[in-house]
């Protein structure tokens, strides 16, 4: 019950933010931040439940975005079906890939996630007739999407509220998931896969399911991205985006489900503050990543939780 109240409060408070802010520039930035927060939540959840680091979640994000753009442009299916396929297809792909790749050690798995995403990036670059290569492709969105006027998805003010609510629903779902037996089982597998097998559990399928779920969250973020921007370029599949999402998750800390989302907000505030230095942005985030990993392995959320614990406040 308390959990529902917390998320309801956070959802309403966030949804009121546009009215308070009034600055369209800041609102645009925040909308991007929330879409990235959903992506980072997917990446961070994989670290939390499977102990695996993905360098390729842009693959699922971009695939979701491209399916929306390509299927609406070619009028393959109605928008509702397109959105569903855009989330389910990457999920299924992750489930199949996971079943093959999860037999490997964590390090090899990470290398392969990068390779898989890059293969899709190259595909989007080279398959000009479908994806229009480097120039990208515009989504031809219909007037109404899921009963809402499509302009609501393209304006920062209303899109922020939609994305914020989606983020809250995702975080709520995940916080329920980690509390049920399946969540505990996947943690046990993360800690010691061999022992979990000895007790009698199948270990590949639960791990693949977590991988697929984290891919589904990334694809959801990609779908929101395509609806908001109305335009998709191969950059959404590039490993640079996977890397950024990973940095957000690490900076935010993955022990708490909401850590990566916090990391995404910090990331965008830092990017905004960097201002003229953004030319050297890669070096800044690279340096930040190194410092946080070595000096602050719990990330921002872990540090907050630690401080609250010291002050005698109990956290979930």
């Amino acid at each position: 019950m308390i959990r529902i109240a917390v998320f309801l409060f956070a959802g309403v408070a966030g949804a009121l933010l546009p009215a308070l802010l009034g600055s369209p520039l800041l609102l645009t930035l925040l909308t991007q931040a929330v879409i990235n927060a959903i992506l980072a939540t997917g990446v961070g959840f994989l670290v939390r439940q499977n102990g695996l680091v993905s360098f390729g979640h842009a693959g699922f994000f971009g695939l979701g975005a491209y399916i929306v753009a390509v299927s609406t442009t070619n009028e393959w299916m109605p928008i509702g079906a397109a959105l569903l396929v855009a989330i389910l297809a990457p999920t299924l792909l992750a489930l199949l890939l996971g079943a093959a790749m999860l037999r490997l050690a964590g390090v090899a798995f990470s290398m392969l996630t990068l390779a898989v995403a890059q293969a899709f990036y190259e595909l989007a670059m080279r398959w000009r007739s479908l994806a229009n290569g480097d120039d990208g492709i515009a989504a031809q969105l219909p007037g109404r999407i899921l009963g809402l006027d499509s302009s609501l998805f393209q304006q920062a003010g209303s899109m922020f509220v939609i994305c914020w609510i989606v983020l809250m629903l995702v975080l709520f779902g995940l916080s329920v998931l980690i509390a049920i037996p399946f969540g505990t089982l996947t943690l046990a597998i993360r800690e010691n896969e061999e022992r979990a097998r000895f007790i009698g559990y199948h270990t590949i399928l639960p791990r693949a399911a977590i991988y697929a779920l984290s891919a589904a969250i990334a694809a959801l973020a990609g779908v929101l991205f395509a609806l908001y921007n109305g335009f998709v370029t191969p950059n959404v599949l590039y490993w640079g985006l996977s890397g950024e999402a990973l940095v957000m998750a690490v900076v935010g800390g993955t022990r708490a489900v909401w850590g990566p989302a916090l990391g995404a907000l910090l990331f965008f505030l830092l990017k905004n503050a960097a201002g003229d230095l953004t030319e050297h942005w890669p070096a800044i985030i690279g340096g930040t990543l190194i410092l946080v990993t070595v000096l602050l392995p719990r990330g921002a959320s872990g540090t907050i939780a630690l401080l609250m614990q010291r002050m005698g406040v109990r956290t979930a």
């Binding site: 037999r103 890397g243 050297h280 690279g286």
Partner: protein, 282 residues
């Protein structure tokens, strides 16, 4: 057709020289160096600058030397202090290094494409069954064969090579037998980085230099290392040759889907043999 196969050998050779460095580092430190593609790129740029002043051969030598020093520093200041941490920590740190190095190169050399001329002695073409093929490309294949041969002899017959192979199978036991793994690994990481420099410089006359050139070859070399079997030297050679051919034939015959072919092969190999083609240490 012969030309296509030779071009595949050129790419496979470059991939092998890069990938075997990853295998060497993995064998000693149990970590994957995500900055390896950046070392390849830095090697190409160092080669470019020195070539402009003192000619190609000086550029090649300088690049290998500079990268060897960078490799030793990498081991001393990154891999060694982090050796007791989760491998994920080291992986993230090398990924951070990748971003920093790419930005540094962009700042120093700019983002315009740069080109390097092959040395005069290797600049002609040879005629093979009616078509011509650049001598320089043949020389690249030769370098890859020399590296492969030299490394296998060294690993097979020298004492240090024995230690390296032993450590690839089990670093802990190797250390308990009295091998100074820290010194060994400083040397091996230096060699691995030097090979990345070598491969960067010899690829410079074949491609245009840009700060992002390390990315795609890093990813292909990851596929090579995993398909061949993480920690396996022979496996890396076999996988590099196969993927070099597939990559090249793919670009010629199905350009749109070329990048998918190595990936499909890799997934099939992993389903068939989860440990890769060849066992670690072999």
């Amino acid at each position: 057709m012969l030309i296509q196969i030779l071009n595949g050998l050129v790419y496979g050779g470059l991939l092998y020289v890069l990938a075997v460095g990853l295998v060497l580092i993995f064998g000693l430190r149990r970590v994957v160096n995500f900055a390896h593609g950046s070392l390849f790129m830095v090697g190409a740029y160092v080669g470019y600058t020195v070539t402009a002043v003192a000619g190609f051969w000086a550029g090649l030598a300088a690049s290998v030397c500079v990268l060897t020093v960078i490799g030793a520093a990498l081991d001393r200041f990154v891999f060694r202090p982090l050796q007791d941490e989760d491998p994920i920590v080291t992986m993230l740190v090398t990924f951070g290094l990748l971003l920093v190095l790419e930005d540094a190169v962009r700042t120093i050399w700019g983002k315009e494409f740069l080109t390097v001329q092959p040395p005069a002695i290797l600049s002609g073409v040879v005629h093979l069954s009616g078509t011509s093929f650049p001598v320089y490309r043949l020389a690249v294949i030769g370098v890859a064969i020399l590296v492969a041969g030299g490394l296998s002899l060294w690993l097979r017959f020298s004492r240090v090579g024995l230690y390296v192979r032993a450590s690839s199978v089990d670093p802990l036991t190797t250390g308990m037998q009295g091998v100074d793994t820290d010194r060994l690994s400083a040397m091996v990481v230096a060699i691995g980085a030097g090979l990345a420099g070598l491969s960067g410089t010899i690829s410079a006359p074949l491609v245009a230099l840009s700060p992002s050139m390390g990315g795609s070859i890093l990813i292909d070399s990851f596929v090579v290392v995993v398909t061949g079997g993480l920690g396996s030297f022979t496996g890396a050679f076999v996988a590099a040759m196969i993927i070099g051919q597939l990559h090249n034939l793919g670009v010629v015959f199905v350009p749109a889907a070329a990048s998918m072919i190595p990936l499909v092969l890799m997934v099939l190999v992993l389903i068939w043999r989860p440990g890769g083609l060849v066992k670690a240490g072999a």
